[in-house]
Symmetry: C2
Subunit: 186 residues, 2 copies
């Protein structure tokens, strides 16, 4: 008979945790919250996963569209464009933060989600990279700087969902300056 210690239980729980995933978002409580019953839900969706994928699609759609247009209209120099982009993407949005956090956590255990997240990341990164390249930065450096900024962005979202501090205007400005460091003209 196998015997386990308390710590083995904890350790096993941690590894099991890396799988797990979603598992929130039950349909019946959701129905109650919306003031209807399951009958409504199963009219609109095949099953639970259908809803989840629909949410994923919605997130991807909103995550890849716009923003880009808004930035280029009001900014001209690379630094100004970066600042405008940072201001737009770092804007406080508790709901968006939580969604971003949940989906990225979900992606850890679902390849379909992971692919969707990868598409969104690709798109966002591509924009920042092209912005830096257009300013004269080398391809490799631009890509590294874009990834750096993107990590800051993800960190911002996740940190805020757990009660962390939002980036101040000063911090965003300083970050923008650091990101373009190495370029001759600002």
């Amino acid at each position: 008979m196998r015997k386990l210690s308390r710590d083995e239980w904890i350790g096993g729980a941690f590894t099991a945790l890396t799988d797990g995933g979603i598992d929130a978002l039950r349909v019946e409580p959701l129905a109650k919250r919306l003031g209807v019953t399951k009958g409504s839900f199963y009219h609109h969706f095949e099953n639970r996963r259908d809803l989840h994928l629909a949410m994923l699609n919605e997130w991807e759609r909103r995550g890849t569209a716009q923003i880009i247009d808004d930035v280029e209209e009001v900014a001209f120099t690379p630094l100004e464009q970066l600042r405008a982009l940072a201001t737009a993407t770092f804007a406080s949005d508790p709901v968006g933060d939580a969604i971003e956090t949940s989906i990225r956590s979900w992606a850890a255990t679902d390849e379909t989600v992971q692919a969707a997240v990868a598409r969104v990341d690709e798109r966002r990164l591509g924009y920042v990279t092209s912005l830096l390249r257009a300013a004269g930065m080398s391809k490799g450096l631009a890509e590294r700087r874009a990834r750096l900024m993107y990590r800051v962005l993800i960190g911002e979202f996740i940190w805020r969902t757990a009660g962390g501090p939002a980036s101040t205007r000063t911090e965003l400005d300083e970050m923008s300056i650091l990101l373009v460091t190495g370029l001759e003209a600002t």
Copy 2:
């Protein structure tokens, strides 16, 4: 009779998602995975939350301890210390990444968890800040740079769990350099 559209369902699901939380980590599957039954679990733990809090404590313990000693032994200049710290904290650790992601997601819906995360963050931030201050950086700037680095760190963890790229050595070095930008001597 209230009627909802498919999109209202999706919208309601998103807001419900912001609550949700944990909800993975069932005890019976966990027992099966470990080759035992529930009897074992309830011998070691009061209930499910007891396990969760035990995991949280374990995470906090490992998150606040060490690392610091390892860094100061091998590095002398601020830049070298930052590089050493970055190398240590950014080290690839899929399990650690997933735990970090899950706990931060969990923190969004549980004040106890949020407090624990805040303690860990406080500690980590304090170290980076003191490192920069000791190098002659002003208090405010040091704190902003520390938060910036911390966002990159969180972003690194979360991005990797979703299949994102790990920071290369070059990227870590460049980040370290940017973080100390503004200091006279490196």
